[in-house]
Amino acid sequence: MSGAVRHWLNQRISSLILIPLVGWLLWATTRLAGADYATSVDFVTRPFNAVMIFLVAIIAFYHAQLGLQVIYEDYVPEPWATYLKSLTRIACIVGWLAVPAAILRLAAGA
């Protein structure tokens, strides 16, 4: 399978998985909007919620990376498109590490 086909397919697979995950995320934001510190910590450290936050972050950042890459290729001339692609990948990795790190720290303190 060529790189472009793989990219196209991964974008669709991540979209499908994100439909229920984003539905959950929107529900979670209605529970957390205006919530105080203790309520928020309690919500985030419940095992099911922690797993959902982890999954939505991992897959959404990956999906964002794939989408942004296409936009760079369409509108940004080289070499800037390549620089932006690398920058996006770094930001994505930071997000991938920051989200589980924050959840684990809260779970350890709770």
Binding site: R12, S15, L16, I19, G23, L26, T30, Y37, V41, A102
Partner: protein
């Protein structure tokens, strides 16, 4: 001197003064713009929320006070609409990927239904959260 590659036709910009306004191209570019907004604004704001929670009550209270202010609420509302739009229009794109609903009348009808659902979803989620 022009090389052969300079003479190749480039794809036209489907918006702006060069092209008649069309719902299809407008909804398509908006899908990209909402996606960019989610990646560049919404995702970092949500990661920051989680990071501030992990950092302790002082930072968390300061951050949520900002989110609860008028500018914070405005940004949150835009983020919510981007989620609603990108989710509903994304489902529309996934339907097209199965090679169904791709006749022009269906595309226009689907566009209006998607816009209606994106607004409804935004209203329902905002109402449920306040």
């Amino acid at each position: 001197m022009t090389s052969k590659s300079d003479q190749r036709p480039i794809s036209p910009y489907m918006l702006g003064p060069y092209y008649r306004f069309q719902m299809t191209s407008f909804l398509s570019i908006t899908n990209r713009m909402t996606g960019v907004f989610l990646a560049v604004v919404a995702a970092p704001l949500m990661v920051l929320w989680l990071a501030s929670l992990a950092a302790g009550p002082a930072l968390f209270d300061a951050y949520t006070a900002f989110l609860g202010s008028v500018p914070g609420k405005l940004i949150a509302l835009i983020c919510l609409y981007c989620f609603a739009y990108h989710l509903t229009n994304g489902i529309r794109h996934l339907v097209w990927d199965t090679a169904s609903g791709i006749e022009m009348p269906q595309i226009h009808l689907g566009g209006w239904i998607m816009l209606l659902f994106s607004v409804l979803l935004t209203v329902v989620v905002w109402w449920a959260g306040s």
